[in-house]
Symmetry: C2
Subunit: 361 residues, 2 copies
């Protein structure tokens, strides 16, 4: 993949709780540990995506103590030995999560690069991913902090956007970054979508570990100091590493975008169209589902009579019969059944809040 | 209750399958065996309604072989010893079901009367029922074939109607019957409803066993002959009686209304307003449910957020969260989950048909 000397650690961030996929995701079983699409969980799919490619090294998983046994189980199920499992004492957002992985690499393999990936996204077109990774690797070897720009399919208001500039010299699929934009209102999102210069920020990055830490030291020195000290004082138990709590938690809660990418000048974006989804809601899952002629998506032992535009998702719950419904999502698990109009998918977290207040979640 | 010499056998017809309450009712667990409202099953509620009233004798249950163990279990649970359990070799409609019960009474207690009741209806106001039974008993003792006329609450098109005539001499709550009407179209149902002379035919009757058989011999002699012969050749096993199959099945499939009530001249109707429902659909159940301020009815571990007019019925299935829904029915059982608009309740049988075709019901 690209230069044959490339050594890339997949750094897989497993921190999210995915409350918007309730009842499939639950506080004790976050979204990345669930087989949302296909037979493997999302974190397993994420790991397998970057296995058996010559440039990728064993993965580094960044997670928390409460998910440790889930991570270990998931890796064992697919027979993958990780390079490291880094357990954050508490969530301190992505800048610090990436920083402790970079610190580990600087100690163990200082010339290596790192490819940062959320653990709970779907990528349907792997060939397009690999083409983009090759371009990103070349740019990262030239010193760039590379982000992947997801080709938008609609004027989404729920994501940040990356605005591309001129191509980086001699790399026609890599562009300088003009700007990172926060989640836009619909009118602006529509302009971005139609203009062809903006991409969704999917939270995927590729860079040399030392380049990231250099930028972090310059633009967010408190994050760099906290992460570095926490790793120097970490407790190592085989591949499991526990950064020291007091140091780590002294750092601020800030995203890699705000801390580094929006401030650094050596950023680049590789556009990629790869059937990406963050599966951030049931509606998002419906939109990538293989639908029947009536726009119904059915998983497991469910069926729709006289209805259209529905997602019927049966995991380990009872079979579902949906009659006369339009544009609804119905989810059946052993722990709960959800029924809602698809356009209310973003409000599923209200249900989780309700259950929390009731003390049953 | 009325004349102190009255001896009345409750005759409880347990033949229906109640497919419109799927998934709560199932082919192996018809509606009358399910606790639809409250803790007791509908057949248990029906039996208990006519226990501990001085005139009522032990009940006669008319059912089929496939339901025998269910009937026996249900009776044992409430500690009731039946007078007889009559097992039809096959369903031959209500004229024959009532006829074999009448034949049993003619042999065992020939002066007794019989009160015919479906096993799967709800009656919320028992005092009104008992007042009506007293009036009906007096009329039956005078030789009438008495039917109970349910006070309509809306212009229902799914029931037959009974048109009342002048009061029977000296009984101001008993009326002669002018006519039985088939299920009417809406315009006619509205005229019936507004006219005040028409009642729903709820399938409840009270008459002397010999009066019924006399009328049956006159108006449907083939039913009378088949039933009588089947009972003469029946196999008796304690209280369980199996009418002889060949004789019974030689009779026609005809309702008591068509065979007798519409033809006899000694019919009478006792109007009664008693919170009756045949619970013939999920919508019918919603209409008798104790609803909250938003018109939501919830049973078991379910809740509604931002919705109105829903019935959320959790029996032995997972908890249900309904978000942003209007006028839907959601049912959660271990064997299946139903979701449909309430006004599609009549089409739930389509689901059962679908499952039958698939071979899973």
């Amino acid at each position: 993949m690209g230069d044959h000397s490339a050594r890339i650690y997949p750094v897989i961030l497993s921190g999210g709780s995915g409350t918007r996929l309730w009842p499939l995701s639950q506080p004790h079983r976050p979204k990345q540990f669930v087989p949302v699409v296909g037979d493997r969980s999302m974190i397993q799919e994420t790991i397998m995506r970057v296995m058996d490619k010559s440039d990728f090294l064993a993965p580094i998983i960044v997670s928390g103590e409460s998910q440790r046994h889930l991570v270990v189980d998931q890796l064992a199920q697919i027979g993958v030995d990780p390079a490291a499992i880094l357990l954050e004492p508490a969530a301190r957002n992505t800048a610090a999560a990436v920083a402790i992985a970079a610190c580990w690499i600087m100690v163990n393999d200082p010339e290596a690069m790192m490819m940062v990936m959320p653990s709970d996204h779907v990528i349907q077109d792997l060939e397009s991913l690999y083409v983009a990774v090759r371009a990103a690797t070349a740019a990262a070897q030239a010193g760039y902090l590379v982000t992947f720009g997801i080709q938008p399919t609609h004027p989404e208001t729920g994501y940040g956007y990356i605005e591309r500039g001129v191509p980086v010299a001699a790399m026609d699929t890599v562009h300088e970054v003009v700007n990172f934009h926060e989640k836009p209102p619909l009118a602006l999102a529509t302009r971005y979508f139609e203009g062809g210069q903006h991409y969704w920020n999917g939270g995927m990055f590729l860079f040399g570990a030392h380049n990231y830490l250099t930028a972090l030291n310059e633009h967010a020195p408190d994050v760099a100091a906290a992460s570095q000290q926490a790793m120097e004082r970490s407790v190592v138990d085989g591949v499991t590493i526990r950064p020291e709590s007091a140091s780590f938690m002294a750092g601020p809660d800030i995203s890699i975008d705000h801390a580094v990418m929006e401030k650094a000048t050596n950023t680049a974006v590789v556009p990629v169209d790869m059937g990406w989804s963050d599966v951030g809601s049931w509606d998002a899952l419906w939109s990538i589902w293989a639908l029947d002629g009536n726009g119904n998506g059915v998983n497991g032992d469910g069926f729709v009579l006289d209805g259209a535009g529905n997602l019927v998702y049966v995991s380990d719950g009872p079979p579902v019969a949906a009659l006369g419904l339009q544009d609804c999502v119905i989810v059946s698990t052993a722990e709960g059944v959800l029924v809602a109009p698809r356009d209310r998918s973003q409000d599923v977290k209200k249900i989780v809040d309700h259950l929390k207040r009731r003390g049953t979640a």
